[in-house]
């Protein structure tokens, strides 16, 4: 028998879940706390796949450049913009993408940032943490060059320390609320939850990717890096 009312998905078919208690505090950023549990990582990767984002596990420092190179090669891209990476990762990225045009936006005059992002095929940026169950990475931007690098190119590659995961949007909001409260009024960052590539169902309900933002989202999970 079909359970009653399940086409409405109403109270009768809701499952009750025990309130989650975070088990382990691994790090904190800007007044917020990021929690992590080992099994969250698998859930996060599964959620990414379901959202048509592509997870990549960088288990060691040494294989990370190969991952970056193969992603960029896979899209036959030559022009790459990079923003917001921790200083110690910049050299690795430029080494990995040798032979291509790689622009670190922090090094450009501000008037050239928009043009560089508009011309680039790949944008490489950084995520402070991610929301496991929702397959969302969390971008914390203090400068809009970060959002432009992540929005204008057709391919977005985001680097993320693998352990920095919260469970769900509720926990994420607690973290973000902490970050925003701790920042001074003139210093508050723009925070964005990104769950998958840009998409629309506006034409005959067919799911299409890459409307205005990237049509591909690669999430490189850095097992070996704990964050800045």
């Amino acid at each position: 028998m079909t359970s009653a009312g399940d086409n409405l998905g109403l109270a009768r078919c809701g499952l009750v879940r025990e309130a989650h208690k975070p088990s382990r505090v691994t790090s904190s950023i800007g007044g917020g706390t990021v929690l992590s549990e080992p099994e969250l990582s698998d859930r996060f990767k599964a959620a990414l796949l379901e959202l048509k984002a592509e997870p990549h596990s960088a288990t060691r420092r040494e294989n990370t450049p190969d991952i970056l190179r193969s992603v960029v090669e896979g899209h036959q891209a030559n022009r790459v913009v990079v923003a917001n990476l921790p200083a110690e990762l910049r050299a690795m990225v430029s080494g990995a993408l040798k032979g291509r045009s790689v622009q670190f936006l922090e090094d450009l005059p501000s008037k050239d940032v928009l043009g560089a992002c508009a011309a680039a095929e790949v944008g490489v940026t950084w995520a402070e943490f991610a929301i496991a169950e929702d397959g969302a990475i969390v971008e914390v931007a203090h400068d809009d060059m970060v959002r432009l690098a992540a929005s204008l190119p057709i391919v977005h590659v985001v680097l993320l320390p693998a352990g920095r995961l919260v469970r769900d949007v509720g926990e994420a909001m607690t973290v973000v609320g902490g970050i925003l409260r701790a920042s001074g009024p003139g210093e508050r960052p723009t925070v964005t939850f990104i769950s998958g590539p840009s998409r629309t169902g506006d034409i005959e309900l067919r799911l299409l990717y890459g409307v205005h933002g990237p049509h591909s989202l690669h999430v490189v999970l850095l097992d070996w890096y704990v964050g800045r």
Partner: protein
Amino acid sequence: MATEVRRSIEEPERVGKLWEAMERGRANRAATIEKAGLDLPAFRDRVRSIKETAAQDPTIAEAFAEAVRTNGGRVFFAATGREAVQYLLDVCRANGAEFLVKSKSLTSEEIELNQGLAAEGIRAIETDLGELLCQVAGEKPSHLVFPAIHMTSDRIARMLTEAYGEPIAPEPSSILSAVRARLRPQFLDAKVGVTGANIGVAETGSIVVETNEGNGRLVTSVPRVHVALIGLEKIVRRWEDAADLVRGHAISATGQRMTVYVSLLSRRLPVGGDPADREFHVVILDNGRTRMRADPSFRDALNCIRCGACMNVCPTYGVTGGHVFGHIYPGPIGIPWTAKVHGLEEASFAHLCVSCGLCHEICPVDIDIPWMIAKVKEQDVEVHGQPTAERFFMASEAFAKVACLAAPLANGFLRTGPARILMERILGVDRRRTLPPFARRTLRSRVRNRRATEGRVGKVAFFPDLYAEYNNPDLGLKAIEILERLGYAVLIPNVRWSGMPYVSYGQLGKASALAAVNLRVLGPLVDQGYDIVSTEPTAVYMLRKVYPKLVEGDLATTVGTHSYGFFEFIERGIAGLPLRPSRDVAGVVGFHIPCHDRALSSGAPAMRFLERASYRVRVVETGTCCGIAGTFGMKSGWLGYELSMAVGEKLFEQFRQSGCDLVATESSVCTLQLGDGLGRTILHPLDLVRLEGTG
């Protein structure tokens, strides 16, 4: 209105697409809720509490405005839409902008921003794909989440080929590429970007903008100036409050766990370290909201989170679409919003509401939309009068009494073609609609001669409503017999009918008076230990859900909490009942859940009852109403029978495809609709069983 409804019904292709969008919306939503393990009642309670505070506490908007200013932003309180448009015009002029780029914003549509700007020579370019297609076509959005759902890809390609002056193939991917290429330079050249805001957060002066396409990201990062329009009811105090809303928007709108891009913006950021001239403006819009807040009948509308779930479940919206069933705000919640923000004259689509109540059931904020719609109808019939058919159906009880007195005559009359033609012309009752025959003797007169039994277990006041009293007393008798076998003393209280048509047709004064009469009878019985039981789901719905709205005070609530559906009530003692099937159990019973029972027990106890009697039972459902909706589908013409059958056709088809051997439902009117639509006998669950030891 009738002409527009007719046109909608006669465009099956468009209707099919809209229906598909709604079905997908409901299915995705249900799947995500289940997968996420969301405790829905608790979730609804939280969202409601957050929204009630946000909508009712005027100090939150003030605190928000102060925090925005502290962050370096500018705030403008717009009392009216006109003021908001003027502010936008001033911003554009001050920045030398000849056009602006806009991400999807229903609030901007509410104030007719595009038209206001265009009149002053400034173009607003819609960047959400669906909105853009509507803009190019010069049409209004027909669905909240999928604005261009009424357009085929062929039509879109032809339209854009002409508009852009270059050939575009009718494949969705080609259309997408063309739009992306066309809009990109406009994003890059724009000086001003306009967004709505899904949420405002007072503690840090921030807004939340949610888009799937990524246009919201570009609109808020590329242009030098960003203006966000926000209704004052959308501002919450703390970030923790925003989490449930972010979840609620996505799940209810599209069934996503989260919208692809959820941007939390507090100020303009520099670009490449240069903060030069980056401006952030927030326009906080009142436009009737303070008035709504002060109106006890309509303040619930301010709790809306604009998810569109109510549209996805509304039966008549599903056939007519947002162009007919809406003004600017479409669908069920669009009725009170339109009436309060744009005026009663624009809200005449209220009469397309059939009072099935499903919008309330699906609403993530538990908004009693049907109640507000009844209020709008009440105001509308006061001004514009009441159609004859509606007056007739509100007199159903009197008609039934008379018809029963002369049952053979009345039944002969109702079966005669010329008589029905006359009835259609004079009373507006559709001649094609089968009406249930009347019994020679009412339930009360038959019970009067029975020997009352002693109640070992408890006492029941059986509420027959019209059908079990005047049309099918056998059903009432069987129900009473079962109750007595289970050890209940049963009486039929001296109540009148439950009176749903008064609510459906906006006669709330009469509805309240009737409710008061019934409550005066039922209240003392409850005090004496009686429970109230009915075989008619609508009667239980009225007692439990609507009477407490119609009559203030504890009496209605007390009676409501002691009112039960028949199968729900007998479930506790059912194990001792010697149930035997009265039909061949080799087949499958296709079960239809009446809408009003969705608010009660969703048919589950009745289905378990049938399973106990050895039947295999399967729910056959479209996820919305069967279409008859009480007496709505008995009215003649496009605003009655035709619309009702157009809604029902989807369900009829599912029943035909289901291969079910028997069809059962608890509601007397759903029985008529399924009977007319399927051309077969529809059974009440009690018809399918006999008690051992009786015939």
